[in-house]
């Protein structure tokens, strides 16, 4: 532990806990974004609106991210309360929350994509857990893979990417990875919905 070092001894562990909470909560929020619409048949109605597909997808993404952001913002209560008792350095908190928000965006994009693939909310939630857990624990079992493979896997690990934020540093390459991860899944969502059209599915 970090002893009296608040960034290392307290915030680091708080952010590492919050990321696990996000991992559990976000799939539950994203599972019905498209799956429920498709099951109820309201997706057809949505397509008839004079907006482009990408706009619908981005709209749903931003709406879900807004909900998650509100949840994340609520956790800022703790630093504010602590700041009334003792000086708190803002820097590590900023880094942690930036990382948490980027991670939440990546999770939401992933959940949105999986939700666009199925009509079942249950499948959407569990498949999202599966994908996110894969990117999460990809490097956890260091002993199971050889060094060359581990070296190739580490850049894809969400855990490794988030760790730097949690300890109070913003690395541009980690920011780029999370942004590109989000962009990739949003693009995949557009492609997934497009395929259902030419495949004759709803």
């Amino acid at each position: 532990m970090g002893g009296m070092n608040l960034p290392r001894g307290l915030w680091q562990y708080q952010f590492l806990d919050l990321q696990r909470l996000l991992l559990v909560l976000v799939p539950l929020l994203t599972m019905r974004l498209f799956a429920e619409e498709r099951k109820l048949g309201t997706l057809e109605l949505l397509w008839t609106y004079p907006v482009r597909d990408a706009e619908i997808i981005v709209g749903k993404f931003l709406a879900c991210l807004a909900v998650v952001s509100a949840m994340i913002a609520a956790t800022a209560t703790y630093p504010f309360l602590l700041a009334r008792l003792t000086p708190v350095a803002a820097g590590p908190l900023v880094a942690g929350y930036v990382g948490l928000w980027l991670l939440a965006a990546a999770f939401v994009a992933c959940g949105l994509f999986v939700s666009a693939l199925t009509e079942s909310q249950l499948i959407a939630a569990s498949a999202t857990y599966g994908v996110l857990l894969f990117f999460w624990v990809i490097t956890w079992n260091e002993a199971a893979v050889n060094e060359v493979t581990l070296h190739l896997l580490v850049p894809f690990s969400l855990f490794d990417r988030f760790y730097a934020f949690a300890i109070g540093a913003i690395d541009t390459q980690n920011v780029a990875y999370l942004v590109l991860f989000t962009s990739a899944f949003l693009a995949f969502t557009i492609l997934a919905l497009d395929t259902r059209r030419w495949r004759g599915l709803r």
Binding site: P7, A89, G91, P92, V94, A95, E142, A143, E147, H151, V154, P155, D160, Y163, A164, I167, G168, A169, I170, D171, T172, Q173, A176, Y177, L180, S183, A184, A187, F188, L191, T195, W198, R199, G200
Partner: protein, 213 residues
């Protein structure tokens, strides 16, 4: 939908996904190569110190760092090494689990967890891989280490430095000469690997040979 049209659609989809992944991959590679760290901690404890930066920038030919970690501590070493590499791409590093590669560690003179074997210009130095100062000190030693020239004075009543006197003195002389000439090599590695931080060579204690008992 006819089969040919379905095939065309699937091919088109595969192409789009591939192009997307390649484009995003290239962007990430560019981001990795131009990476920058914003250390927001009050003490700037996550940044390299100016001294370390200066030392690392001086490396002008490829330097290889092989770090042997204890399982579960990989991340601590990887973070520091990645920062060093961003500072100077000539630094190549490899992180190995000591328990999985004991032979490799032995061949590099490493016998303990958390040690780095630094190879540079035909020399090899083994130092603690953490903290940053210890590793920077090792890099500096690897860069500055040179083969020492040993000169002997004669005709002033000194014992003979060449082979020829008693077997005992010959043994001492040979051992001491080897120690001095291979400064920063295996003997020093063994000494430094048993204690953290910059170490003194055990050779120095036995020099000059005629003073040792």
């Amino acid at each position: 939908m006819t089969a040919s049209r379905a095939t065309r659609h699937w091919t088109q989809l595969g192409l789009q996904v591939t192009l997307l992944l390649v484009a995003l991959g290239l962007l990430q590679v560019a981001a990795e190569r131009t990476g920058r760290r914003f250390d927001l901690t009050p003490t700037r404890g996550l940044s390299l110190s100016p001294v370390t930066e200066k030392i690392v920038r001086q490396v002008d030919t490829p330097m290889r760092l092989t770090v042997f970690y204890r399982r579960g501590t990989r991340e601590q070493h990887a973070d520091l090494l990645a920062r060093l590499r961003v500072m100077n791409p000539r630094l190549e590093f490899e992180l190995l689990d000591l328990d999985r590669f004991p032979d490799r560690a032995r061949s590099l003179g490493v016998t303990q967890y958390g040690r780095a074997a630094i190879e540079y210009g035909g020399r090899r130095v083994v130092v603690p891989a953490l903290p940053e100062e210890a590793l920077a000190g090792g890099i500096l030693r690897a860069m500055r280490g040179k083969a020492r020239r040993i000169a002997f004075t004669t005709a002033h009543g000194e014992p003979r430095a060449t082979v020829g006197s008693s077997p005992r003195s010959r043994r001492r002389t040979t051992r001491s000469t080897a120690c001095r000439s291979s400064r920063g090599r295996s003997r020093r590695e063994r000494t430094s690997s048993s204690s953290p931080g910059p170490s003194t060579t055990s050779c120095r204690r036995s020099w000059p040979p005629w003073r040792s008992t």
